[in-house]
Amino acid sequence: MTLNELEIGKTAKVARLLGEGPVKRRMMDMGLTKGTEVMVRKVAPLGDPIEITVRGYELSLRKDEAAKIEVSV
């Protein structure tokens, strides 16, 4: 399952990052590494982006960026 498919309020662990290059690096820099716990806090009013809680802070990313993060529940 990818992060954009995770329901609001649910927690999961990052399994793998599917992206590449600067975007992937950015996500890792922000703490989205293998084994990290993430929780989907909410979806923006217009349907995108989503807000997740990771390493104790709030991060927003687009659904198609979240689709590049494989998670395991």
Binding site: D29, T33, V43, P45, D48, P49, E51, Y57, L61
Partner: protein, 730 residues
């Protein structure tokens, strides 16, 4: 004595700018979301004349990908700072330490200032500084920048470390955060680059090469042959750990930090899973249904305060315009003392020293009249700026970018492009420059073209004047201008995106939503004053000479005869205005006065109001205000529509000269500069024309040639927005 240079580095939202202000006492923005501090800023440490604090942009890492990171890296490795103060958000310490490990590897003397300790204590958490200091081989202290606690001590510690390092014979220790095989590979790389880099930073360079950082490899001039040798070690690690080098390094850094936090950070039990205040605020502010209404309400609140008939802004403005600066004078509250207005004081003063009527007119009506109009609206701008500063400092703006992102994505930008537009609420010049942070050239160009459609402070003066003269009972007209600005940005963006020049994949959007915090009064004041200062200075430096020039062309004809007030229609200004007035006829204000005011607005937008005031002052009668109203009545059978059209034209055509100059510079090419100007001129003209023509039609003024033209052009514009997008260009 050589100056000691200390770099101040840390994540965005870690309180770095507050600390910087604390250490240097200089004025700075304290923006609570990424991208505000693009330029490097420096200042002198309080109480130490020869210590320079260099504020670096807020960064999350020292990777080679974003502009802020590149700027920071460049400074840290090329400019040889003597020490680093790494500011860390104590309430968000895990992610903050990610940068800290990288800074520590540079081998520079470092003090880690763990900020927001007051909140950490309040939450009931504890941080063991000694353990962190040992792990990262640096000094660690706790501070609370907001409270002014501990910042100066941290800076002085950094100075001490710098002086000690200068005397030491060998470089300080750097932390080792990686696993066996990675450390092994790094050691090999270090051997290979011995002598090519300063000894103290060799580890940082080696790690970068391990990550295959292209910028570093290029800067060090590492040839293909040398690289092949190091490649072998890197590939061995990648095979063993089943991951690519960059990911290995990032993962291991975070693992190291996690282990460190297990030992050094104790979180209070009772806080777990409880919603913080920020979360609760966000429940409303980014709520699926409530978010947009809340945002619009916020804008309305701002405009109500600023220009509503009985609101504080208008009351202050009326007092400033007529009482304080004008002719009426005002009574000091609770007393019987009447203070004459500045205008009457000047006139009286000149009379006393026997100055003739003409020069008095020049000074009083011309120069002072114009400048006073601009200064008189400072209360309105003041209210708007205070409001904006509060919203930025408390953290709301990041939420706005979050909410708006989907909309911006429709035309290939991100919610981050909203940032220049918010800055544009103050002034278009820094707004256009703020687009620098957008890496994608195409996105940057589009943002530059669209950013100035949000009414800036100077345009606000126009809104304020017209609101008070024509729309007193309709305060929402002011808010409407903002809404129209946003609508133009969205629709204009969609239309541009569909053209071949701008089509393509949208830029990524990974953004932190920092916790809300109550801004300090000093912080808001500094923020507001910075912007306000610019306006008041502009009044002196640009508008004053412009008013003098305008007075001249209003009072002289081409043969340079001095004209009486009633002869103004024979003046140079009237003549030149007349030549171009016919271009503005379809917009409802096609007279020399309307033309002169609009053209003068290109010097500085608020000049339009100053010019109108000057013209009004020379129309005789008692009240300049009434004159302006009559002026519009003479231009059109529908004066309110003409006034609205005038506002729309001046708000949405190209910005003032300075902003246009900056646009050309930031675009980097004359062709793009002209495109931007052309696009903006088209939008402003068509909008004003459409509103006027269709408004006249609706008001019963009949259907004319120009009504038809307006409708046709509008239909074309609608087509440009709704047509299907062409195939996406890679």
């Amino acid at each position: 004595m050589a100056k000691i240079k200390i770099a101040l580095a840390g994540n965005p939202n870690s309180g770095k700018t507050t600390l910087f202000n604390d250490l240097t006492g200089s004025n700075q923005y304290v923006g609570n979301w990424p991208g505000v501090t693009v330029e490097k800023k420096d200042g002198i440490l309080k109480g130490a004349k020869d210590v320079v604090i260099q504020d670096l942009p807020g960064i999350y890492s020292l990777s080679p990908y974003s502009l802020e990171e590149k700027v920071s890296r460049k400074f840290l490795v090329e400019e040889n700072p003597d020490a680093v103060i790494n500011i860390v958000d104590g309430t968000n310490i895990e992610r903050n330490l990610y940068l800290s490990t990288q800074l520590a590897e540079l081998g520079l003397p470092m003090v880690m200032a763990v900020n927001m300790m007051d909140i950490v204590k309040r939450n009931g958490d504890t941080i063991d500084f000694a353990k962190i200091a040992k792990a990262l081989r640096c000094e660690v202290v706790g501070i609370s920048a907001l409270k002014g606690d501990g910042g100066l001590e941290a800076a002085n510690k950094a100075v001490e470390l710098a002086e000690a390092a200068a005397k030491a014979k060998k470089p300080g220790e750097v932390p080792h955060v990686f696993s066996g095989s990675v450390e092994h590979a790094i050691a090999h790389i270090e051997e290979s680059i011995q002598g090519k880099v300063p000894a103290r930073s060799i580890r940082w360079y080696a790690i970068k090469i391990f990550e295959r950082d292209r910028d570093v490899i290029k800067d060090l001039g590492i040839g293909v042959g040398e690289m092949k040798h190091m490649e072998q070690h890197i590939r061995d690690c990648e095979k063993e750990l089943e991951d690519d080098a960059e990911s290995i390094i990032t993962n291991q850094r975070y693992e190291f930090i996690k282990n460190l936090m297990d030992k050094a950070l104790t979180k209070s039990e009772k806080r777990r899973n409880r919603l913080t205040i920020s979360d609760r605020i966000d429940k409303v502010v980014t709520h699926r249904l409530l978010a947009l209404p809340v945002f619009i309400l916020t804008l309305c609140a701002m405009w109500w305060l600023a220009v509503a008939e009985n609101g504080p802004g208008t009351l202050l403005t009326d007092w400033a315009n007529d009482g304080l600066l004008g002719e009426d004078g005002w009574t000091i509250p609770f007393t019987q003392t009447v203070v004459p207005g500045v205008q009457s004081l000047i006139a009286a003063g000149l009379g006393k020293i026997g100055v003739g009527e003409t020069v008095t007119s020049l000074v009083v009506d011309g120069a002072w009249g114009g400048v006073a109009t601009v200064l008189g609206f400072v209360p309105v701008i003041f209210v708007v700026f205070i409001f904006l500063s509060f919203l930025e400092d408390c953290g709301y703006m990041a939420r706005v970018a979050f909410i708006m992102d989907r909309l911006f994505r429709k035309f290939g930008l991100s919610g981050k492009s909203f940032i220049p537009m918010i800055v544009g609420k103050g002034c278009g010049v820094p707004a256009v420059m703020a687009a620098r942070t957008i890496e994608n050239k195409r996105d940057q160009r589009m943002t530059i073209i669209l950013a100035t459609f949000i009414p800036c402070g100077a345009k606000t003066v126009i809104i304020a004047m017209f609101a008070s003269l024509f729309f007193r009972d309709m305060w929402y007209v002011a808010a409407l201008m903002d809404v129209i600005g946003i609508a133009i940005i969205v629709l204009g963006g969609i239309a541009l995106k569909k053209t071949r020049a701008f089509a393509g994949e949208p830029a990524p959007f990974v953004m932190e939503l920092p916790a809300y915090h109550m801004p300090t009064a000093t912080g808001i004041w500094r923020h507001t004053w910075n912007r306000l200062k610019g306006y008041i200075l502009k009044a002196g430096l640009i508008i004053f000479p412009a008013c003098v020039f305008l007075w001249f062309v209003m009072h002289f004809d081409f043969s340079l005869n001095l004209l009486g007030d009633e002869q103004i229609s024979e003046s140079i200004l009237a003549a030149v205005g007349g030549w171009i007035a016919w271009l503005l006829k379809p917009l409802g204000f096609g007279t020399w006065q309307g033309a002169a005011a609009s053209v003068s607005a290109e010097i500085a937008k608020e000049q339009a109001t100053a010019t109108l005031s000057l013209v009004a002052a020379n129309m005789g009668g008692d009240s300049a205000d009434a004159n302006i109203v009559n002026l519009f009545a003479s231009m059109s059978a529908f004066p309110k529509l003409a006034a609205l059209s005038f506002m729309l034209f001046n708000l949405f055509v190209p910005p003032c000269m300075v902003a246009i100059a900056v646009t050309f510079r930031e675009m980097g090419s004359k062709a793009w500069g002209w495109f931007a100007v052309g696009f903006q001129l088209f939008v402003g003209y068509v909008l004003a024309m459409s509103v006027y023509q269709i408004g006249v039609l609706v008001a019963g003024g009949g259907f004319g040639v120009w009504t038809a033209v307006a409708v046709l052009v509008d239909l074309w514009c609608v087509w440009m927005v709704v047509r299907p997008a062409k195939g996406v260009r890679a």
